[in-house]
């Protein structure tokens, strides 16, 4: 079967996408982290870059490996590409007769292809697809997105996608998926667009030993340090008085890093940005966090005035009420909230504590 692309031919994939009008984004080292940035050629891919991720820690390591995708993930998933961190929804203009005119502001969405997408992030994109199904701002970006996944071969210590069922290999919702080997890639298509791309590439027949290597690589990537503990999602919200919340609230800075890097978190706030001359005003939205002070605010009252309530909201939503809302947990095991937490809080540890009977306290 012709499904093998030698590494030397990878630039032809990029060129093909450029020729077909795509803006191509690919992983690159920016500010000591892996970010998706416009990709002119494959020589800016993070060749030989591996990672150390631990609670509160994210570091890149240069190795002499020829591989370009031997890292787990960067601080951002696909979320900023479809759910813009800040955007104008509509604009109101004050007319000379005192009347108001409202106009919709939709961004110019351009067909965009992303190379190097992870299974955990595809699963999170599917979660956002559910949540924003009726949102025109999200949809116009999403509809123009071409997704080229690369199976994760080097999960970080913070990863637990194998236990959530969302990785390390790309399972669904991709157009094209690549398994990286030292000298090239095994390709599989997930859509008609992906199949069309494969026919345009100088693919070679793959060998059995290459597939054996890919299988072994996959089995190795499934052996992850962290695992999602067993818990009852329906019970989480009823455990509001468990002492585990006090313990985590003592450490948590309520900074919102976890929600910013989370690929499924969807909260946003809306605000007005009026022109200084008073002639018009942009109604914008930007990412919000349930850790922000204003999130639960309503005419003079905060439903969650302290960190304990906010952390509890985040965790019980992500792992509990999300199941009721969308039929599965809101966590896809990417581990970003662990790495990017400045104090290294691990929500899996909180879930473990919640699963234990609370210790009796003397009254």
């Amino acid at each position: 079967m012709h499904d093998y692309l030698p590494r030397a031919a990878l630039p032809q994939l990029i060129q093909h996408l450029h020729r077909h009008g795509y803006t191509v984004l690919g992983p690159q080292v920016v500010d000591n982290a892996i970010l998706y940035r416009p990709l002119a050629d494959t020589d800016v891919l993070p060749t030989g870059i591996e990672q150390v991720q631990r609670p509160g820690e994210y570091r890149l390591i240069q190795t002499d490996s020829p591989r370009q995708f031997s890292w787990a993930n960067g601080p951002q998933a696909l979320k900023p590409l479809t759910f813009a961190p800040r955007e104008t929804l509509w604009r109101s203009t004050l007319q000379t007769d005192g009347s108001l005119r409202f106009e919709e502001v939709l961004a110019d969405a351009r067909p965009t292809a992303v190379i190097g997408v992870r299974g955990c992030d595809l699963a999170a994109l599917a979660l956002q697809d559910q949540h924003f199904a009726a949102d025109p701002y999200y949809r116009q970006r999403r509809d123009d997105l071409l997704l080229i996944a690369v199976d994760c071969s080097h999960p970080a210590d913070t990863c637990f996608c194998a236990s959530t069922g969302d990785g390390p290999a790309a399972e669904a919702d991709y157009d094209l998926a690549l398994t990286e080997l030292d000298d090239g890639f095994l390709l599989r298509a997930g859509s008609d667009r992906g199949r069309a791309i494969m026919t345009a590439l100088p693919l070679q027949p793959s060998r059995e030993d290459q597939h054996r290597l890919a299988d072994s690589q996959h089995r190795h990537a499934c052996r992850q340090l962290r695992q999602l503990p067993a818990f009852d999602p329906a019970q989480l919200i009823q455990q509001g008085q468990h002492p585990a919340w006090d313990t985590v609230a003592d450490a948590c800075l309520s900074c919102g890093n976890c929600t910013s890097v989370c690929p499924s978190c969807f909260c946003f706030s809306e605000s007005e940005v009026p022109e200084l001359d008073g002639s018009s005003s942009d109604h914008q939205r930007q990412w919000d966090s349930c850790f922000s002070e204003g999130h639960s605010y309503i005419h003079g009252h905060h439903f969650r005035p302290d960190t304990k309530g906010r952390y509890r909201q985040w965790l019980t939503h992500k792992f509990g009420s999300w199941v009721e809302q969308y039929g599965r947990s809101g966590c896809t095991g990417c581990g970003r909230c662990i790495s990017w937490c400045p104090v290294g809080i691990d929500p899996l540890q909180v879930l473990l504590q919640l699963g234990r009977e609370p210790a009796r306290t003397e009254k």
């Binding site: 969807f266 946003f268 809306e270 919000d288 999130h295 003079g300 909201q313 009420s321």
Partner: protein, 280 residues
């Protein structure tokens, strides 16, 4: 795709100062193509927008008519925050934005043929006035109508003449409670739950609409259940931070429910195990 996030222009026809900080805006939609928004149902809400300041969710109070018989949309607002104060400052003739209607209203069809019991506290009466007016406009569809309104101070009572009018109608019970009553307050001084005990309820054929502070709604619902009203016949109107009004922005989540989309009016059994929990 029509964008549900885009407001329509509304003209302030009139403005009524109800109390020191509560006012009612009487609004007319300026574009003929926007008149479908008048299909708003009792219990639903609109997002009202002050140019350059922002939006707030305000439940619908009533649809009345102007001198030419054109429909007028009424919203009663307490000036308490940045946007509501900006709206409070607007005189008749000014234009605002309005988008909606949003959310689930009172279960009008389910209430048909039933006794209707409307229990409200404070400004919670505004979203409930709409269903009381609806019931009197379609009087034969409903049995007995019970109305209980509670206020913190007797001076806070809105629409007193309207309550007095309803009290004189046949098959209607109207009771008022003030936590603190000034001299001359003709009604009860104390909590609404005490008045609920006195209601001549027919629990097997009563539908309850309740709107007010959450502890008041919870105490009322539990009292009604003690009086044999089935929990599923009790409906509460909930309130949370709402910004998008379409179940996307996440602020109004109450457990798994998005209050703006799945509510604001919801059956008590769906809320019962979460009401009163800290931080939900």
């Amino acid at each position: 795709m029509t964008n549900p996030a885009l407001p329509a222009e509304a003209l302030i026809l009139n403005r009524v100062q109800e109390t020191e900080d509560i006012f009612t805006l009487q609004l007319q939609l300026t574009a003929p193509a926007q008149q479908w928004r008048l299909g708003i149902q009792p219990g639903q809400f609109n997002m009202l927008y002050r140019f350059g300041v922002g939006e707030i969710p305000i439940s619908f109070k009533a649809i009345s008519a102007d001198e030419q018989g054109q429909p007028v949309l009424e919203h009663t607002i307490r000036a308490v925050g940045r946007v509501s104060r900006a709206l409070a400052a607007l005189p008749p003739g000014e234009r605002i934005g309005l988008r909606g209607p949003f959310g689930q209203g009172w279960p009008l069809e389910q209430a048909e043929g039933q006794d209707l019991c409307v229990i409200t506290g404070g400004l919670g009466c505004a979203p409930a006035v709409s269903i009381i007016e609806h019931a009197f406009a379609n009087r034969t569809r409903y049995g007995h109508i019970h109305i209980i309104q509670g206020v913190k101070h007797s001076a806070d009572l809105l629409w007193r003449s309207r309550y007095e009018f309803w009290a004189q109608q046949p098959d209607t019970t109207v009771m008022m409670a003030a936590d603190v009553a000034a001299p001359g307050w003709p009604w009860y001084s104390g909590r609404v739950t005490e008045l609920i005990k006195r209601l001549p309820l027919r629990p097997e054929q009563t539908l309850v609409c309740c709107c007010g502070p959450e502890p008041m709604m919870q105490a009322s619902a539990e009292q009604l259940i003690r009086q044999q009203v089935p929990a599923e016949a009790i409906w509460l109107s909930m309130e949370r931070n709402m910004q998008c009004a379409s179940g996307h922005c996440g602020h109004c989540q109450f457990g798994a429910d998005f209050i703006c989309r799945d509510g604001p009016v919801m059956p008590y059994p769906r809320l019962r195990d979460r009401l009163g929990l800290e931080g939900i």
